[in-house]
């Protein structure tokens, strides 16, 4: 913007339409994305209120309701789906914030987390007949094991596939990340076969605990929130208040300066991978309990959804990743229930492209070198 004050008048007249265009683009960028995000909920809210929806069948006649309960149900389900995406998205955003790498294998690390958790259930002998205390204890143990497995796995992948390529062109680590994504998928394929496997519905995920304003709250939702909220709070405290967290933020801002200040950049990068992996493991357990099935290919879709979430929130920003995850969850549940699950992927990806076009910095993000 300095140029406008320095340049003489003839270029300035030529620059005026350009400046207007830039302002328009900023305006469209800021509000266009928000408008696009509000489009689906607002449309369905109006449609539910005006036209009503079929809430059930009573004595052979469809029961038509004119209220927002169905939308509320979509939101409740979306917020618990979104909790899973948020946990994975934090892993993308931490790593991207520090080394500007899209850790393509992250979704598959999440898948390994699911598989580990389910494997732990059979090791611990959890089944439908286990007592409530046993299930809770077993879930906590398998949560910890799954988180440790994926955390360590993520650090190992970083050591093998990304660390040797520090300083190489940025394409190189992205390609090894894709390579590792495929390797992990095949590990999953050999582990549990090629088709989705249903797992024991330990907590009765679909059972309704309570109904608030006509919105049924299922046990699976509660599990997702009970696991996710403390983890996100713990992570936020870690990043904002500990020395290691401070080192992470410093490295994200300027790796070179951080190194000069005596921060061990390599350890800090490993720490980011460890934290991302831990959260992906937790997401893996929630997914297995909540969806009551696991699949070697689940990580691909989850990874892309979570990446979309991270970009939507503003990549490199943890709060943004959580916000983005929840929004993606709501979009997903709206699309699943109202448009058809076979279109969900296309709709989420269309949002991804829309964000990239309208506002590559995301909702809460700052300009990055990539998206500037």
């Amino acid at each position: 913007m300095n140029t406008t004050t320095i340049t003489p008048s003839p270029p300035a007249t030529a620059a005026r339409p350009a400046a207007a265009l830039a302002a328009l683009r900023r305006y469209v960028g800021r509000w266009g994305l928000i408008a696009a995000l509000l489009a689906l909920p607002v449309y369905y809210a109006v449609s539910d209120l005006a036209n009503g929806y079929q809430a059930g069948v009573l004595a052979g006649h469809p029961v038509i309701h004119h209220d927002l309960s169905r939308l509320g149900f979509n939101f409740a389900e979306g917020l618990s789906d979104g909790a899973i995406w948020a946990l994975i998205a934090i892993g993308y955003t931490l790593v991207y914030g520090i080394i500007e790498l899209i850790n393509f294998a992250h979704g598959d690390v999440f898948m390994i987390g699911s598989f580990t958790a389910v494997g732990m259930w059979s090791v611990l002998g959890l089944s439908l007949t286990t007592s409530v205390l046993g299930v809770v204890g077993g879930l906590i143990v398998s949560l910890i094991i799954a988180m440790l497995t994926t955390g360590i796995l993520n650090v190992l992948i970083e050591k093998v596939a990304y660390k040797p390529l520090r300083g190489a062109p940025k394409l190189a680590p992205l390609i090894t990340a894709i390579g590792f994504s495929f390797i992990l998928q095949n590990v999953g394929l050999l582990w549990r076969g090629g088709s989705p496997k249903s797992v024991t519905d330990l907590i009765g995920a679909q059972k309704v605990v309570t109904t608030i304003w006509g919105i049924p709250i299922q046990r699976g939702y509660l599990l997702a929130w009970v696991v996710t909220i403390p983890l996100v709070i713990a992570l936020t405290i870690f990043i904002t208040s500990t020395r290691a967290g401070k080192a992470m933020r410093a490295t994200a801002q300027d790796p070179e300066a951080a190194r000069l200040m005596g921060i061990n950049v390599n350890n800090t990068i490993s720490l980011a991978f460890l934290l991302g992996g831990l959260l992906a493991g937790a997401a893996g357990l929630i997914y297995a309990v909540y969806e009551t099935q696991v699949w070697y290919f689940q990580g691909f879709r989850a990874g892309l959804f979570a990446f979309t979430a991270a970009v939507m929130g503003g990549i490199g920003n943890v709060r943004g990743a959580v916000l983005g995850g929840l929004i993606i969850g709501i979009i997903q549940s709206l699309s699943d229930e109202r448009i058809g699950p076979q279109w969900t992927e296309a709709i989420v990806f269309a949002y991804l492209i829309g964000i990239m076009v309208l506002r590559p910095t995301g909702l809460l993000g700052e300009e990055t070198r990539e998206a500037g």
């Binding site: 500007e100 394409l171 190189a172 390609i175 495929f182 998928q185 076979q342």
Partner: protein, 395 residues
């Protein structure tokens, strides 16, 4: 390692003294002749010939993706979209799928009696090129302001959207009870290519198929080599190396990038159209994300940005995928007491190859000179070399 490299350089220098100056052209002619007579060395419908046809078609795709990823440096992870569009061009324009209409142009006498749209394969090929070039530009548009891995994600998203459309296309009506695609059921009974004099191709005699795809490969290879050394090719390389500098030197960013997408997509569409006809079916299940990575692995193993590398990578991985893994080594895991077949983990093997190549030999098997220096960090050495010997060979 460096000693080995020095030794190789010495050999090459000696060889250039001994061989006549036209040896590389002579080699090209020999390879061309071998390429043309290859089908006579094997059975008319042998598994080897089938593997070769598929490998050559992969090489066409690899050459196309190399334009986008290698020359222009735009990491495209949705290349499968052009495979899909090219194949659907055959499905739409060369079968009875659109049963409500009757359009015929240059079709074989047998196909000429059927309902639906039946065009000659050459016309379909042209249509595939046009459709894919247009689609390539549309996909390229949102990525123009982005760099690096963001481009990768946007192209991936487009590839997936096309895949979802292909699968769900059976519920999208286009009028008259017809649908856009046949989803996972597949559009089947696609017309085989037909040329006056050759008759319609049949799967009992694979030789004409081979010559067809070999001809397509030669065209694509020729275009690749000419474009690489043209003003446009140099503009791509300049954009890849430093976008800001290239634009400030007057290279039109939008046009140059879109042309890269369009060119790469057009080649992918040609190969896709061939596959559609060769497999006699266009099934949405073929167009998965893994395929994009498979083609990317060819470009990377061969050497990013190198035309000969992309060709070699395509042939090599094509043979590995269609001959070595399923036919030769499939039962290898059982020999070690493991209960799976090697075909199950094909993508894992390619993933491993990607990691291995990137870490051990990031410039690929047949690197482009400029890219090799960049990947191995020997730019300073080159500067010294160029200073001493200004008339270095053109890359």
């Amino acid at each position: 390692m460096s000693e080995l490299r020095a030794l190789l350089g010495e050999w090459r220098a000696n060889a250039e003294k001994v061989l006549p100056p036209w040896w590389s052209k002579g080699l090209a002619v020999v390879l061309l002749v071998i390429g043309v007579i290859l089908p006579f060395l094997t059975g008319a419908s042998s598994g080897f010939l089938n593997g070769t046809i598929v490998a050559v078609a992969y090489a066409v795709m690899s050459l196309g993706l190399n334009v986008v990823v290698g020359m222009a440096g735009l990491l495209d992870l949705g290349y499968v979209a052009f495979y899909a569009l090219g194949a659907y061009c055959v499905g739409w324009l060369g079968s009875s799928f659109f049963f409500g209409v009757r359009v015929h142009a240059g079709a074989s006498p047998a196909a000429g009696r059927l309902i639906g749209i039946h065009l000659n394969f050459v016309l379909i090929l042209v249509a595939a090129v046009l459709v894919c070039a247009l689609a390539g530009m549309i996909i390229g548009l949102p990525t123009l302001r982005l760099r690096g891995d963001y481009i990768a994600i946007v192209t991936l998203a487009f590839g997936e959207i096309i895949g979802v459309l292909a699968i769900n296309g059976q519920s999208i009506g286009v009028g008259g009870g017809m649908t856009l695609t046949a989803g996972n059921l597949g559009i089947s009974a696609v017309d085989p290519p037909y040329f006056p004099g050759s008759g319609a191709f049949s799967l009992l005699d694979l030789r004409p198929w081979y010559w067809l795809i070999f001809g397509i490969l030669l065209i694509v290879l020729f275009v690749n080599l000419r474009v690489r050394d043209s003003r446009l090719g140099r503009a791509w390389v300049a954009l890849r190396e430093d976008e800001t500098a290239a634009v400030s030197m007057g290279i039109p960013l939008v046009k140059t990038k879109l042309l890269a997408y369009a060119t790469g997509a057009a080649f992918g569409g040609m190969a896709g159209a061939f596959f559609g006809a060769y497999y006699t079916e266009v099934n949405a299940g073929q167009f998965a994300f893994g395929f994009s990575i498979f083609i990317l692995a060819m470009v990377i193993v061969g050497g990013i940005g190198s035309v000969w590398g992309a060709l070699a990578g395509g042939l090599l991985l094509g043979y590995i995928n269609n001959y070595l893994i399923p036919d030769v080594f499939n039962n290898l895991p059982q020999a070690f007491g493991l209960h799976f077949q090697l075909t199950t983990v094909t993508y894992g093997i390619f993933g491993f190859l990607l990691v291995l190549v990137m870490i051990v030999r990031p410039q690929g098997l047949f690197p482009e000179r400029r890219r090799k220096l960049e990947m191995t960090g020997e730019v300073a050495a080159l500067d010294a070399e160029l200073g001493a010997e200004p008339e270095g060979p053109a890359a």
